[in-house]
């Protein structure tokens, strides 16, 4: 094991060792929490620039490039701006709830990081039921969204909140089901153990679950559900700026708005982190000869990759409609996730070799073809040809 791989772990142990014995538990906790509280907001800042510049390039623009070299200090300017802005609370709003909503969101957004292994031996708490904890905490964010929407006393924000709650609850089902496949395969709810199960290699191929047919399908389903769960385009209906303006945070301004923003992005990182943990082998290297690269670099590299994916999708797709979104969740995602679960079970009991690959693949492909046709006929979408008058 390279020391570079464990540099943060060793640093923590050294610092804890230097402190007086009475304070050691406290220091240990502090040294676990504070980096999480620092790293992810910084990542948020980086992501905002990345997103704006990336979207800009996708749209053939430069993106922000005025503050600092190449515009990298843009988040600083944004932060300053939102700090100095007036904090407006509507006169008819429920002031307490209106104030609490962003705080609740933020508090909830940080908690899931406790169970994410960000590198070898780098996890805040190794819970035996880590995945369960993650989903349980994730569900609270719906509460804060509804608090914000309800307390603002604005029709648009109420509409946004209703949409958000319906959407988040619906998409939690496929999200959970697609992770169940992984949990079945790994035989554990502990995030650390799931990663360790994936960190071996056969030949040059890693044992990542995404490299199995059911894992691949599960990963796609997981990411779609994650997009919906974090209200990102094309599932950004709760804040659909062209329909209900900004949805549940229409009445937030200044720093509270920034906190909402931060909370959203933290949620996105956390759920991407879980996706990496479940399907992409967590901190493990993709190729056997790359294991010398520190594990935490792999984790954050993969995280960055998924963030770029989110940005890319956002730059391409228009938004769905509410009923289509719900139909998609219950009539496509849910059956598909169930198929993935069944196929993961079959994978476990079938003997290793070509047969189980074939069985699993055919099973998932057939389900996809059937369900996709269902989606197309239900929404009556079809390519059209047109006639012309001379």
């Amino acid at each position: 094991m390279q020391p570079s791989d464990q540099v943060f772990v060793l640093l923590k142990h050294w610092l804890v060792g230097r402190s007086p014995a009475v304070m050691q538990p406290g220091v240990s906790i502090l040294l676990t929490i504070v980096p999480i509280l620092l790293i992810f907001p910084v990542l948020f800042a980086v992501t905002t620039v990345l997103e704006r510049k990336g979207l800009g390039r996708i749209q053939n623009r430069y993106g922000p490039n005025r503050v600092g070299p190449y515009g990298i200090l843009q988040p600083l300017a944004d932060g300053l701006k939102s700090l100095t802005k007036e904090d407006i609370v509507p006169s008819s709003a429920d002031r307490t709830v209106h104030f609490l909503a962003p705080l609740v969101l933020l508090a909830v957004a940080f908690l899931p990081y406790a169970v994410l292994p960000m590198g070898r031996n780098m996890v805040a708490v190794n819970l035996d039921s880590g995945v369960l904890f993650f989903f349980a905490i994730g569900a609270i964010s719906e509460l804060s969204v509804f608090m914000a929407g309800w307390s603002s006393r604005n029709k648009y924000s109420l509409l946004g909140a209703m949409r958000a709650v319906a959407q988040m609850i619906s998409y939690e089902v496929p999200l959970l089901l697609s992770s169940i496949a992984v949990i079945m395969a790994a035989g554990s709810l502990s995030t650390v153990e799931i990663v360790e199960k994936q960190s071996g290699f056969s030949g040059i191929f890693p044992h990542w679950y995404v490299l199995t047919p059911w894992g691949f399908a599960g990963f796609i389903l997981f990411m779609i559900a994650a997009t919906a769960e974090t209200n990102r385009s094309p599932f950004d209906l709760p804040e659909g700026e062209s329909e209900i303006i900004a949805g549940y945070y229409i009445e937030y301004s200044g720093f509270k708005f920034a906190l909402f923003f931060l909370g959203e992005y933290l949620g996105m990182f956390a759920i991407s982190g879980l996706g990496i943990t479940l399907f992409l082998g967590g901190w493990s290297a993709p190729l056997p000869f790359l294991t010398w690269v520190p594990s935490w670099i792999w984790f954050f590299g993969k995280l960055l990759g998924l963030i770029i994916g989110f940005i890319w999708v956002r730059g391409t797709l228009p938004r769905l409609r509410m009923d289509q979104l719900m139909n998609f969740a219950w009539k496509f995602m849910l059956p598909m996730a169930l198929v993935v679960v069944v196929s993961a079970g079959a994978w476990r009991f079938l003997p290793q070799g070509v047969t189980r690959w074939l069985v699993s693949m055919v099973f998932i492909a057939a389900a996809y073809v059937l369900l996709a046709r269902g989606v197309e006929t239900r929404n009556k979408i079809a390519k059209r040809t047109y006639r012309f008058a001379e």
Binding site: Q59, L159, P234, E243, I245, L317, A382, R384, Y386
Partner: protein
């Protein structure tokens, strides 16, 4: 037209919402008073007039020439076609003729206008659908090239003020024509890119197909014109029907829709852009040399004989008409614009009833309004 009032139990669930005039996707200061049941539209009343400046009264107080710059500001995306509509009306009223070359220049700039208008309208439509601006930015990238052409021809990018009754203001150089040919040649590639990005997209199809259906009979009766009418399957393009200018000489087809929904209206615009490119290729090839102004036309102090004239053209938004009454004085006695944007709005409620609020913005985007023209 009148919706049955909801019962008392239902009334608790009904929400009145005022969309606009400050709303990101009402395309300006347009307002809709909407009654919603959940997200389903029960009633929708358009409220306009926030940009009303009494264009007609201003033009009645000004001379025939001084009204031209004001027509630029009707539909500020298509100042060239607005100019043409007005110039055509004055030409009819005063019996002026237009030289060949000017007619060709008019066709060229109008079709360029159609290209940039349709491209940006499709971009705006996708923006209303929540596409983070990507299609809009691609459209604007191409629109920029057309606007550069307009600038080097007329001196302004949007408020061209280019056409005059009896011709056009300045001649175009051979260099300009070759530049225009270059833009036209490059536009097909952009359309291909646009269609690869959008036309087959399942989300776009799901959002637009079967949404905002406008039946053929209603479309005709409600005076809907332009791509909206043709999307409902009515073959009525003034470039073919009236063959004003020299449109009779060009070979082009009129695309027709079948379903009359938002997707058809979107596709009409894409297909019309392709046909416009064909017209442009022919016009740029065939443009004759010669004068660009009728030598008999007097710009200043025009006093047409007592009488009236109604002229209409196929502007990118629909049928743009100008109705002028002259009493023999240097300014029109009555000056009336038939704004396609306003009249296409008549059926907004019919198209939106029973749809969700997310569809309302998409339907509105597919009608293609410009508030400068709606409110005048």
């Amino acid at each position: 037209m009148t919706q049955a009032l909801p019962s008392e139990a239902e009334q608790d669930q009904v929400m009145e919402i005022s969309m606009g005039p400050q709303h990101p996707s009402t395309h300006g200061v347009f307002r809709m008073d909407i009654r919603l049941d959940g997200e389903r539209v029960l009633r929708l009343k358009p409220v306009i007039g926030y940009l009303h400046r009494n264009h007609e009264k201003i033009a009645e107080a000004a001379s025939y020439l001084a009204a031209i710059p004001y027509t630029d500001r009707l539909d500020y995306l298509c100042s060239m076609t607005n100019n043409w509509g007005y110039a055509l009306a004055v030409e009819k009223l005063a019996g002026l003729t237009v030289p060949e070359r000017a007619e060709y220049i008019r066709v060229i700039v109008s079709e360029l206008t159609r290209l940039q208008n349709h491209a940006s309208v499709v971009g705006f439509l996708l923006q209303d659908m929540g596409a983070s601006g990507t299609p809009l930015m691609y459209a604007f990238r191409e629109r920029e090239k057309v606007m550069d052409l307009f600038e080097s021809l007329s001196g302004a990018r949007m408020m061209c003020n280019y056409m005059r009754f009896g011709g056009v203001r300045v001649d175009c150089s051979a260099e300009w024509l070759s530049q225009a040919a270059k833009v036209v040649a490059g536009f097909n590639g952009f359309l291909d890119e646009f269609e690869r990005l959008l036309t087959g997209n399942e989300i776009l199809m799901a959002r637009t197909q079967g949404v905002g259906v406008l039946p053929r009979e209603l479309a005709i009766n409600a005076g809907v014109t332009g791509p909206g009418l043709r999307a409902s399957g009515v073959n009525y393009d003034l470039r073919k029907v009236d063959s004003y200018g020299v449109y009779g000489r060009f070979e082009f087809r009129v695309p027709l829709g079948e379903h009359g929904d938002v997707y058809d209206r979107y596709m009409m615009r894409v297909l019309e852009m392709r046909e416009s490119l064909r017209i442009l290729e022919q016009a740029l090839r065939d443009i004759p040399s010669g004068p660009f102004m009728d030598p008999k036309a007097r710009l200043r102090g025009l006093r047409p004989k007592v009488g009236e004239a109604y002229a209409r053209i196929e502007s990118p938004k629909g049928e743009l008409g100008f109705y002028l009454i002259s009493d023999g004085s240097p300014n029109p006695y009555r000056y009336r614009v038939r704004p396609p944007s306003l009249i296409n709005l008549t059926v907004l409620e019919d198209m939106c009833l029973g749809q969700s609020i997310a569809d309302v913005v998409v339907i509105l985007g597919s009608i293609d309004i410009v508030l400068g023209e709606v409110d005048r």
